[in-house]
């Protein structure tokens, strides 16, 4: 397992996995998806988890994003041990500190673009007026201020992903998890989406953590963690990658 990159100037990582293991049961067989992985993610990092299918990158992303629980090992969120958290505490942490961008966009079909963006704020108890203002600002930040009242089924794939990015940023998260965010987009749109995310990473000091096959994502990442058979094969910081 490769060590985490230089700690940098920020001494406390946003996320830290220590010897995390996750095994799935396939019939009678137990298949290890992630084995003894240790990793730290700090503020404003733009990290790509790459590897072939079945290498464990999505599983690791899910564990770090509190969508799944490891079988063994320790997960720290801003220095706090997450293993003993209840489902409600984990939900609250996801709501307040994390954002998620999915390959299939996963917008709520009955809500407009603005309502989708405002939904995590409603969960956090943000007042209706402020929700509306912030959702409009976020939609403007992703270039969709004209589509605020439009339902997802009337948006293009790129527009949906932009709404999903705006939604991921709704509650000022520390980390945005993106699982293959460009897989369902054409090249031009994918490039635009990646540029947008990188810009938001820099402007809002939000860490982005990708699980991806896409070489364009890898090319833009400042740090690339390669996984193979559930283990970290390499963890490389690319100084030449644009910030």
């Amino acid at each position: 397992m490769a060590p985490s990159p230089e700690p940098g100037s920020d001494p406390s990582p946003l996320l830290e996995a220590r010897d995390v293991t996750r095994t799935y049961r396939m019939g009678v067989e137990r298949v290890p998806a992630v084995q003894d992985v240790s990793l730290q993610v700090r503020a404003s990092e733009f990290v790509a988890l790459q590897g072939p299918s079945g290498s464990g990158k999505t599983t690791l992303l899910n564990i770090l994003g509190l969508l799944d629980r490891p079988d063994a090992g320790t997960l720290l969120i801003a220095g706090r041990e997450a293993g003993g958290l209840s489902e409600n505490e984990r939900a609250d942490l996801r709501r307040d500190r994390f954002g998620f961008v999915f390959q299939t966009f996963n917008l709520i079909p009955v809500l407009s673009a603005q309502e989708n963006v405002a939904y995590p704020m409603a969960l956090a108890g943000v007042a209706a007026g402020e929700r509306r203002t912030r959702a409009e600002q976020l939609l403007a930040a992703v270039g969709l201020e004209q589509k605020a009242s439009v339902r997802p089924d009337l948006l293009s794939g790129g527009q949906r992903q932009r709404v999903a990015i705006a939604r991921a940023l709704a509650n000022h998260p520390a980390v945005v998890f993106a699982d293959e965010p460009t897989a369902n987009l054409d090249s031009k749109t994918a490039e635009d989406i990646l540029d947008l995310m990188r810009g938001l990473c820099d402007s809002r000091r939000v860490a982005f953590l990708f699980a991806t096959h896409d070489p364009r994502v890898v090319a833009r990442a400042r740090r690339v963690v390669s996984l193979h058979d559930g283990r970290i094969e390499s963890d490389v910081v690319s100084p030449e990658a644009p910030r």
């Binding site: 899910n62 994003g65 969508l67 799944d68 489902e87 409600n88 939900a91 609250d92 996801r94 709501r95 307040d96 998620f100 999915f102 299939t104 996963n106 709520i108 079909p109 009955v110 809500l111 309502e115 405002a118 939904y119 995590p120 409603a122 969960l123 956090a124 939604r167 509650n171």
Partner: protein, 407 residues
Amino acid sequence: MSSFALAWRNLVRQRRRTALMGVVVAFGFAAFALAGGFIAQSFEGLREGTIRSVGQLQAVDRRAVSSSEETTLEFGITDAARARAIVARDPAVASVLPRSDFVGLATNGAKSIPYLGVGVDPEPEAAATGARELVTVGSYLSGDGGDGVLLGTGLASALAVRPGDRVTLMATTPDGSLNAVDGVVRGLVDVRIKELNDRYLAAGAGLVSRLLQSSGTVSKLVIFLKPGADEAAAARRIASALSAAGHNVTLRSWRQLAVFYEQVKLLYVGIFGFVGTVLVVIVILSAAIVMTMAVTERTREIGTLRALGTRPSGVLWMFLAEGVAIAVIGCVAGAVFAFIVRAVLNAWGFTLPPPPGGTHGEPIHVQLYPLAYAAGLVAMVVTMGIASYFPARRAARLSIVEALAHV
């Protein structure tokens, strides 16, 4: 955007499914409301009919409660006029009707038929019980009845007599001897129980007194109270007053006398309960299937909601809210439907077949019974809540990762 608002949006999105479940609930609710109204009306009719027949209270000799008479009027109330006056003085009493029960043979000269006779004070009897309305041919007894008699249509038919014909009545007197008097048929009455209709005979107190040779004695005093009167309190006062005057009587309420009323009521409640249970089970099963389909179809959406920070309870409430909202929508539609069906049934005057032993079917009349509507609403909301709970709980417990990967 609360779980409830999201639930509402989903109901609107899935219009066809919402409409389907709404129709199931609407029919369930309407069945509750209509059956409840019909049964309430039936109970009310049965109660009124029973009271019209036996009165609200009856004063009888104590011995008549526990023993059978060996001879006619053996356990009668003597000095009935005085006892009647005492009862009539009670402020809660609307009317007091003396009645004498007797049996005997009626003959037209060629044929003799057994009868069940009742001696009445005709005018007060007709006023309190509406007995005049039962006369189908001829007229009711007038004045003190004179020598007039009323016959059940079945008995009249068996004797081949009509109003104006003479019949001879035979009966045993209290001392055991046989007596006979002539009477004139004044009218025929339609007693709605066939067995009784074939034996029924009523006569005025004068004729009965001559037949039984028992002046001043009656079998019972049938008491009708004023509307809203406290039955139990009135019974206590009247019993006390009669006792103080030396009458060894007891008072029995119509519920004690009409055992069949409670039996019929229990039967109806049993039938209604059974049908209601079947109805609820059908609604639960239908709703559970529909809600399970909804959860399955929206599995990935549930995963997304959970990933974004919705607590498991938020997902649970969302699906419960959908179920309850369908229940409320269905009940509103069901109430409208029930109003229409009720109006049609009541306007068209459908008639039920006669009950066993009866001669006439009753018209269907469905009462507007708010309690049945309230019960229907509660039943449907609870039913949909139960039906939605288990799919909703399953949704709340889904693994987020598996839900997000659901295709």
